[in-house]
Each structure stands twice: as C-alpha cells, then as structure tokens.
C-alpha cells in the first residue's frame, strides 16, 4: 500500500474523477459505483482504495454495507491550489470583458 499517495495523482485519472462526481450527490456502495462503469469490479475497487487512501473519499459502515462518500474538505484543498492561478486569469478576463463592453457601446 502506498501511504504517501499524491492527491493530484489520484484525480488525474478520468475514472477516478467520474467516481468522485458520482458520490458527490450521494453516498454509494462499491457495488453501486461499479455498476456505473464497464470496467472490471476489482479495477473499480482499486480506484476506490486510492481515493480513500488520499482521503478524497470517506467510508461509512451501514449494516453489512460500506458506503463511500465525498470528503469535501480534501476536495477544497485541491481546488485552492490551482485557484489563485485560475483567479488571476478570471480577473484579467473580467477586465477584458468590461473594457470591450464599453468599447462596444462607444461605437
């Protein structure tokens, strides 16, 4: 088991991102998650393991079933990392839009 798994490595995989999107709306069992993919069940289990290891997913026991849910705190950490870069461009583009809207009305 790789304890020092990188969160960014975890979200780089398209299937893992799809899993995160799935459980974002509601907690689901591994079986329910796997039924959404054509991939073999063990492959989905491996993805779940990786996402759980880096704390993007949390597990909750409900009777005999284990439910997976999204860990919003960890998701936020990732977003914050790229956020300043995104914000920089978003601010520039907001300015561009405002300038050109005025430019349009001046004509």
């Amino acid at each position: 088991m790789n304890l020092r798994r990188d969160v960014f490595q975890a979200i780089a995989d398209p299937t893992r991102r799809a899993i995160l999107l799935l459980v974002a709306s509601q907690a689901m069992t591994a079986g329910a998650i796997a039924s959404n993919f054509d991939t073999a069940r063990p492959t989905v289990s491996k993805h779940l393991q990786i996402l759980t290891e880096c704390e993007l997913l949390g597990q909750e026991q409900n009777g005999r079933e284990i439910y997976y849910h999204l860990n919003p705190k960890k998701m936020k950490e990732i977003a914050q990392f790229i956020e300043p870069f995104r914000k920089m461009w978003d601010d520039r583009f907001d300015k561009l839009e405002n300038i050109m809207k005025k430019y349009k009305s001046k004509k």
Binding site: W89, L96, M100, K104
Partner: protein, 155 residues
C-alpha cells in the same frame, strides 16, 4: 461571481488548457487580444511591442510604482488568423522558466458570445506545475509579508 474561467491541467502532462466564455461578439474578443492599448488595460502591463501578424514579435513590461521593471516577457507570433487563432511563444525574461508555446483559439458561440481556448505547452511537467503554482506561491509570499508587517508593528 460566477466561475467562468476554467483551468484543465491533467496530472503528469506538460500542457494546460485555459478556457473562458465571454459575453462579447467574437470580433471584440479578438480585438482585445491584438490592440496594444486594449491588451495593456486588461493584462495590467505595458505593451512595448505587439506585432499582430505572422513572424511578428511581442514584448510586455511591468514596472512597480517606483519605476523598477519587475516583469518582462516576450515572444514570437507563429500563426495569426484574424478571429480564429494566434499561435505564439511566451518567455519570461530573467527567470529560470523555459519558453512555452501557446495556442489561442477564438470561437463564435452566438452573435453576442464567444469563447477563448488557450492551450499552453511547457517544456516539462515540472515547468508547468511550477508555473501553475506561481500565483499560489505569490499569494503565500504576500500573506507572509503582511504577517511580517503586522508582527513588525507589535515589536
């Protein structure tokens, strides 16, 4: 504020996509990227040179309030198709960052809306990640400076 600008940076890849939809006709969006006096306004930098044509060159320069140049970037324009695309190189001067290749694509969505896609290719995965972290790092530095200033007043 609605999050209109999207950044796509897959892990382990040496490129990045920046996309944004504008409430502007395509022609105005394109114009904002080629007219030096307009670029200056939204990029917040002085445009020393912007030759919007194939084989043209460009050069930006930013100074602090005291007049010291704090940022200088330049590049060459490889492709220039009005209202469609610009392909250029981008290099930050006096930094260890290698030159990067940028593909700008302009698309008409409706008569009043348009989309810009910037595909940026870096020399390496590490170079891209460093560039991506730059504003984050600057934010940290600023926070650190503010903290120091606040602490300085206490002493």
């Amino acid at each position: 504020m609605e999050r209109k600008t999207k950044i796509t940076a897959e892990d382990g890849q040496q490129d990045m996509l920046i996309t944004r939809e504008f409430d502007l006709p395509l022609e105005l969006l394109f114009k904002a990227n080629v007219e030096p006096e307009i670029v200056e306004q939204w990029m917040g930098t002085k445009v020393v040179k912007l030759e919007s044509r194939k084989h043209g060159g460009w050069q930006y320069e930013t100074s602090d309030p005291k007049g010291n140049v704090v940022f200088r970037a330049n590049g060459v324009i490889h492709e220039f198709v009005p209202n469609q695309k610009i392909t250029r190189t981008f290099e930050m001067e006096n930094t260890p960052f290698p030159v990067q290749l940028e593909f700008f694509e302009f698309e008409k969505l409706t008569d009043d809306t348009s989309k810009l896609t910037m595909h940026i290719v870096y020399k390496s995965v590490a170079a891209r990640d460093q560039m991506l972290k730059l504003p984050f790092a600057q934010g940290l530095n600023m926070a650190h400076d503010r903290l120091q200033a606040a602490v300085g007043k206490l002493v």
